[in-house]
């Protein structure tokens, strides 16, 4: 009996121990479960926050991209504008440079024209200007004789030794241009500018002091390398019309007065001797 009860109490004790272990294990499981719930809750919270932050960041980056794209567009537009301005400046520079060169030509021509009071030298300078600055190969300077109303060649270049007849004021292309006091330019294409026709010249430039015509410059043929008149040529023609006329007129007057002065001086010397 005692043996049986001892065995039963041993089994009860073993069962209680197993039960205690089961209780302890259950407690541990519950704790673990609690911990896991807490971790899950934490992760859920972090995950929620991360989503918000990510979306914010994406929006922020999209805004930045938009801003940079706009800035880029503005810069590209500005670059284009500056490039256009640059081109414009370059064109302006070329224009100013050309204008500068034209002015230099005009200055030199005008300076040379007024550098002498010798009639033949004035004629020589006009020939030089027409040949070197304009590029004429055959041309002449004709002076108007107010008594006969005829234009006579006083200087020529490239026209040979053959004598050329005088031209009546109002007659033919040359006479008509001189009478009108307006420059004549033969119409036609640029290749036509090199043809030689002494009755129908390429250009007739009346030499005028105010409205008074004293002569003409007549161009018959251009140099082989000269294709057409340029803008500066027309400026030179305008300048020659006035300045060459003044230079020729004043040098002629000066030569005449010099001759008269010499005559008077000789006459005075003779009187003194007597």
């Amino acid at each position: 009996m005692d043996k049986e009860s001892a065995s039963i109490s041993k089994k009860v004790e073993e069962f209680l121990q197993v039960f205690k272990k089961g209780e302890e294990f259950t407690h541990e499981l519950l704790k673990e479960n609690e911990k896991l719930r807490y971790r899950v809750a934490q992760f859920e919270e972090v995950s929620k926050f991360s989503d918000r932050d990510g979306t914010y960041k994406i929006h922020s980056l999209e805004d930045r991209i938009k801003f940079l794209e706009e800035e880029n567009k503005t810069l590209v537009d500005r670059y284009r504008e500056v490039e256009e301005e640059n081109k414009d400046f370059a064109n302006r520079y070329v224009e100013v440079e050309a204008e500068n060169n034209n002015l230099a030509n005009l200055y030199v021509a005008s300076y040379q024209l007024h550098s002498t009071l010798d009639f033949s030298e004035s004629l020589k300078i006009i020939l030089e200007i027409v040949m070197n600055l304009i590029g004429a190969e055959e041309f002449s300077i004709m002076m108007l004789d107010e008594k006969t109303n005829e234009l006579t060649i006083v200087a020529q270049e490239g026209m040979g030794q053959e004598p050329r007849p005088s031209v009546k004021l109002g007659e033919g292309t040359i006479g008509a241009a001189a009478k009108r006091g307006e420059a004549f330019y033969r119409e036609g294409d640029t290749t036509d500018l090199r043809g030689v026709d002494y009755l129908h010249p390429l250009t007739v430039i009346p030499l005028k002091i105010k409205e008074h015509v004293i002569g003409v410059i007549v161009i018959y043929k251009l140099l082989v390398q000269k294709q057409a008149f340029s803008n500066v040529d027309y400026e030179l023609f305008t300048m020659l019309a006035g300045h060459a006329a003044t230079a020729l007129f004043s040098s002629k007057l000066y030569s005449q007065s010099e001759r008269k002065l010499t005559t008077i001086q000789s006459f005075l010397d003779l009187l003194k001797e007597k």
């Binding site: 050309a98 230099a104 550098s115 030089e128 040949m131 070197n132 140099l223 082989v224 390398q225 000269k226």
Partner: protein
């Protein structure tokens, strides 16, 4: 600033002034003018030049004779020569270049073209 000495040989005072006017735009340029070939040779014997610019049609000694004489002179034969002339035909150009000219510019001259040629030669010397 480097100094550039130019000898302008032209019988026409108008052209001499115009060429000198253009050359003055090159910094450090010093220009000596001669009215014909003989005058040019005299000036060459007393001074050193970087470039000679010469016309062809001149009294006493023309430009082609001058080019030929300079090229046959052991002292001056290397000086670059630019011919500036009214003779614009191809055969004239070939003749000038065959004699030893470095460049050939027909009149009427364009300042930009003249300066371009001069600067090219000066650049080549440097």
């Amino acid at each position: 600033m480097p100094e550039h000495n130019f000898l302008v040989v032209e019988d026409s005072p108008t052209m001499r002034q115009l060429i000198s006017f253009a050359l003055k735009r090159i910094p450090g340029s010093k220009i000596v003018e001669a009215s014909d070939g003989i005058d040019a040779l005299k000036k060459l014997s007393t001074q050193k030049f970087d470039i000679i610019l010469t016309d062809i049609n001149m009294p006493i000694m023309d430009g082609l004779k001058l080019v030929s004489m300079v090229r046959n002179d052991p002292v001056h034969k290397t000086i670059p020569i630019i011919i500036i002339t009214t003779e614009g035909a191809d055969e004239d150009r070939k003749r000038g270049l065959a004699l030893g000219a470095n460049a050939y510019i027909p009149k009427p001259i364009q300042t930009a073209e003249l300066l371009n040629v001069v600067n090219q030669i000066l650049g080549g010397q440097g």
